[in-house]
């Protein structure tokens, strides 16, 4: 399905919806003018082979073996050129009862499935985690973009922003959660909770990973209200603007 046809009923208020979808339309236009096409789907089986091209381990939330079916809570955006896949983004919507507990038991990732032996997750002690209670969250850590596509100006930024904007419009999640590295988080287009409060390496799901300086992973969260304001900003619709909080919306520091 074409991304501009992928949203039928919106959960945003009409004014925000218009702004977000206008940005989305412009991002899609940029990608298409660069010679790529986009497809939106609801099946992780479509994205798993594309993630496989990256030679990186498949994230649990993007693994169709763990999360089979469930099209109503899965959103995928794939990037194509001349019939060849060039990248993809996978987002899942998950209900949590109480996030720290769900993380600890691994239920957040594995649902009712039993996690493999040796997989563990150390939970950081952060105030913002305790706020996530009885709500939908959207997990959005999985992106892969082919090296050649990364060279096209603005296509990487557009793919990430389109996937986020569609999930914002389609679902009423309260929090967007993901795992990221400190350098990447600093350039995210929204106010990110967690990055400044959580020690690196505490958030591990891969059994071979060890918490050390080479694995500076963070659990991060974004409040919906914060994200909506930024996705509706004109900055968001310009893929040539670097991924980052629009200057007008950046939190004021004491110095400023």
């Amino acid at each position: 399905m074409h991304p501009l046809d992928a949203v039928s009923d919106s959960v945003l208020n009409p004014r925000d919806h218009r702004a977000v979808m206008l940005n989305t339309g412009r991002l899609v236009g940029h990608v298409e003018r660069a010679g790529y096409s986009l497809r939106v789907g609801h099946d992780l089986a479509e994205t798993a082979p594309i993630f496989g091209l990256s030679n990186a381990p498949l994230a649990v939330m993007a693994d169709p073996a763990v999360h089979a079916g469930m099209p109503e809570t899965t959103l995928t955006v794939t990037l194509w050129k001349d019939g060849e896949p060039q990248g993809c983004a996978a987002i899942r919507r998950v209900w949590v009862d109480f996030l720290p507990t769900d993380l600890e038991t691994l239920r957040y990732w594995y649902g009712e499935q039993t996690p493999p032996e040796g997989v563990r997750c150390s939970i950081p002690d952060a105030d913002w985690l305790a706020e996530i209670y009885s709500c939908w969250t959207a997990w959005s850590c999985s992106f892969h973009i082919h090296r050649e596509a990364q060279k096209a100006r603005g296509v990487t930024e557009a793919l990430i922003r389109i996937a986020h904007a569609l999930s914002l419009t389609k679902w009423d999640w309260r929090w967007l959660l993901g795992r990221g590295k400190s350098g990447v988080i600093a350039r995210f287009p929204f106010e990110v909770y967690g990055a400044n409060h959580v020690s690196p390496g505490l958030f591990l799901l891969d059994r071979d990973e060890q918490p050390d300086a080479d694995h500076p992973h963070f659990l991060m969260g974004v409040r919906r209200a914060s994200f909506t304001a930024q996705a509706a900003h004109a900055y968001y619709g310009d893929p040539l603007q670097k991924i980052g909080i629009p200057p007008a919306l950046r939190p004021k520091t004491e110095e400023s």
Binding site: D5, N13, L22, V28, G29, H30, R33, S37, W136
Partner: protein, 361 residues
């Protein structure tokens, strides 16, 4: 200093809308048709030389022949689609009959869509010509635009989404329709017979008016013995025994076996989200996980949202209302779950139970 005074901008806008790249008509084509040099046409458009009424008339005639009429009327400030003065150079029979398209956009402006609605929306979004998207549908469904088409018989057709139209587009179009008193308008978006432009303008304005929350519901505290429903009374007692701030609402309802009759909402600021619906409720389950304001029945959604917010402000209220055919009560418990979020659990039961009563959400 402007050489052409008040018409400089309107002439330039009208000409630009009808020439390349907005249409396939180039200044060279106009020069060939009118006898004026391309340079003269360009300098006139850019307000660098004086343009005569004769030039405007001939350019209008040439553009009409190419299928883009209306330059004179727009230049002199007449409403788009207004009657053109008769011109010996452009007799009506020389002008090919063609539909004329406009968009009323979310910016509150009325644009001529010389090449059709889809093409205008495609260019507005900067989509390539090869796009597989449907820009017209996108503009109507997601940007709140309203599409107007004037047929060759003079009638108007209005396309849009009543529930998505942008207030700015509605206001602009309603103002314009007020000036089209004699036009007959077909508006499939209202699912009705052709109406007069003025009547449709009124109908459009009613769309932009805010919906009012039904006043039939009032919060009221009742004593336990006034709760007519046994399950509801049991739930009320259990929650109040534990204390409204400490009671585990979902667990309590589950333990009592009444969870199937309850609905759970999460409140984050002013947003009320449907988190769970009991299996015993006759409700479309696709509303789970959605903001209640995303429901199509906006009036009911507003009421539901108001009840949840009232429960947040005054925990353990009874909200009394009158359903069609009989009255029912909504038992609502509000509870803070974190610094910013609340949850609200509701149970509805009938008081004067009509034969066909179905518990609401």
């Amino acid at each position: 200093m402007s050489r052409n005074g008040g018409i400089a901008k309107t002439y330039a806008a009208a000409l630009i809308a009808r020439t390349a790249p907005n249409t396939g008509v180039t200044l060279k084509m106009l020069a060939n048709k009118t006898g004026y040099s391309e340079d003269t046409l360009q300098r006139g458009r850019d307000d660098l030389t004086t343009i005569s009424a004769e030039l405007i008339r001939e350019v209008d005639a040439a553009l009409s022949a190419f299928g883009f009429p209306g330059l004179i009327t727009e230049t002199y400030g007449c409403p788009p689609g207004g009657t053109q003065p008769a011109s010996p150079l452009s007799p009506p029979e020389a002008v090919a009959p063609a539909d004329v398209c406009w968009w009323a956009t979310h910016e509150g402006t009325l644009h001529t869509a010389a090449l059709g609605h889809a093409e205008f929306a495609r260019r507005y979004l900067d989509l390539p010509a090869t796009t597989e998207a449907d820009p017209r549908k996108f503009a109507i469904e997601h940007m709140g635009w309203l599409a107007v088409t004037r047929s060759t018989d003079g009638s108007l057709r209005l396309d849009g989404r009543a529930d998505r139209a942008a207030p700015e587009a509605i206001e602009r179009l309603a103002d314009w329709l007020d000036g089209q008193r004699e036009a007959v308008v077909r508006a499939p978006m209202f699912d009705q017979r052709p109406a007069s432009a003025v009547a449709l303008a009124q109908q459009l304005r009613s769309l932009a008016a805010p919906e009012t929350v039904p006043a039939t519901w009032q919060p009221e505290r009742l004593a336990e013995d006034q709760i007519a429903d046994a399950d509801a009374a049991q739930l009320w007692r259990a929650v109040h025994d534990a204390g409204i701030e400490r009671a585990h609402l979902v667990e309590t309802a589950g333990r009592l076996g009444v969870l199937d009759r309850c609905a759970l909402f999460v409140i984050d600021g002013d947003a009320v989200v449907s988190a769970d619906l009991g299996r015993g409720l006759f409700v479309d389950r696709s509303v789970v996980g959605r903001n209640v304001m995303s429901r199509r029945d906006v009036g009911y959604a507003q009421m539901l949202r108001a009840h949840a917010l009232q429960a947040k402000a005054a925990p353990s209220n009874y909200l009394i209302g009158r359903a069609e055919g009989g009255s029912y009560r909504r038992l609502a418990f509000g509870q803070q779950t974190s610094r910013n979020t609340w949850q609200c659990m509701t149970m509805v039961y009938a008081v004067d139970k009509p034969a066909d009563f179905q518990p609401l959400r």
